[in-house]
Amino acid sequence: MAEVLDKEIVEKKPKEPLFSKRNRALINDPLNDDNPITVQVLGICSALAITVKLYPAVVMAISVLFVLAVGNVVVSLMRNLIPNRIRIIVQLVVVAALVVLVDQVLKAFVYDVSKELSVFVGLIITNCIIMGRLEAFALGNKPWRSFLDGVGNAFGYGMILIIVAFFRELLGSGTLFGVQVVPNSWYMANGGYYMDNGFMLLPPMALITVGVIIWVQRSRNTKLIEEN
């Protein structure tokens, strides 16, 4: 009798597949409808600072991906053990530890990029996306879902970072990943008619580029437009 009862309970609550529709939404939503940068307008500071070139932007995106995914999983695993009154500090310690780890690894293996990113690796700690996801999602959800949420949000953040860096490096320096893509003969110095736009290298143009991305996104996805 007891066996039958157990079986019934198991049948009533089938295990959710790893990539169910609900779980896939955790990855997909931050890419568009719920993008951390263009919709929630979080993490703007680093998006302006380190998008002059593609390579540092990619390294930054990977660093945030690591911190956010692992941080979400760790906090989610501990969610029933964390005393409520010190939960923010616990989250902060988890994030800070992961960031220091990333910083040390970058210094050891990609030293030149780590010099270029300088304080911005350390400032991942203050990136609102990370603390926001830990507090809003990982504290109340199971590890796998938290992991997907972390990966999704980091992709949403990294995607914008890379798009911005692509345009800034292309138009500002005429290169992509440091490789010259604008033909040398186009330049005015070589008798051509083209000149790199130095303004693209400055932070204001990053803000304007993000603004253009938001504009394009909202004209394609009309449900994001506020009514008033």
Partner: protein, 242 residues
């Protein structure tokens, strides 16, 4: 278990701190050799860059011994034996009076010419600045200079790192007409004579830091270098006459 009890909160916090500290110190100790190696390669890269050889960081370690023929340490205008010049901690040395410093000197041979590379260290606005200055055989003309910094303002003081700033020093003279140390003045525009270069707009304190750094650091070298290069010159002359 009540996770909101005071005692639980304290125990949780204590355990968490110990675990995190252990994990981080383990990571830091494991990665230290790699990081030190990077810093060393970068130093070699900067030294080579001051005599106009621009190579990538890993390449610098390979090229370094072919160009840098001697590394000396000078103390009280005498050669000091038994100190590893490459690993002298300039941050400590510049706090002593110029004469008492263990001053490292790198001697480079390039295209048959001898260059004397002098490490510099001083203070900018937010933190330390440093660099390397290469003097030609006359101990007066600057052959090349590179500068770097820890945390100067990007776009302002941090511009000392750019090649365009360092290149201004090429061909400038550090000695005055009587052969005493004069240094290089960094001006707010209008640099004209052989002792002047243009500073950085908005980076005045860093620029002044560079000026003071050059004057201060060269003090430990000039008397020694005069004697040393004189001695080598007469030794070579003797060899020729023999």
């Amino acid at each position: 278990m009540d996770v909101n009890k005071n005692s639980y909160t304290f125990i949780f916090a204590a355990i968490m701190v110990v675990v995190v500290a252990a994990a981080l110190s383990f990571a830091a100790t494991t990665l230290k050799p790699f990081q030190d190696n990077n810093v060393e390669q970068e130093k070699m890269q900067n030294i080579l860059s001051s005599i106009g050889i621009d190579v990538s960081r890993p390449e610098a370690a390979v090229q370094y011994p072919t160009y840098i023929t001697k590394q000396l340490v000078i103390n009280e205008n005498q050669l000091k034996e038994g100190v590893d010049a490459f690993n002298v901690d300039m941050a400590k040395e510049v706090r002593k009076p110029a004469i008492e410093r263990d001053a490292p000197l790198y001697i480079a041979e390039k295209d048959g010419q001898t260059y004397y590379i002098i490490p510099l260290r001083g203070t900018g606005l937010w933190g330390p600045i440093w660099g390397y200055i290469a003097l030609e055989g006359d101990l007066d003309t600057i052959y090349g200079a590179v500068f770097d910094h820890q945390g100067e303002t990007p776009g302002l003081g941090a511009e000392i790192k750019e090649a365009s700033f360092g290149e201004q020093f090429i061909g400038k003279k550090v000695l005055d007409a009587t052969g005493d140390l004069y240094g290089i003045n960094i001006l707010k525009g209008g640099a004209s004579n052989e002792h002047e270069v243009d500073g950085i707009s908005g980076g005045t304190i860093t620029s002044v830091g560079v000026e003071d750094m050059i004057k201060d650091c060269l003090k430990s070298y000039i008397p020694f270098l005069k004697e040393y290069s004189g001695a080598t010159a007469s030794a070579t002359a003797q060899q020729v006459t023999n």
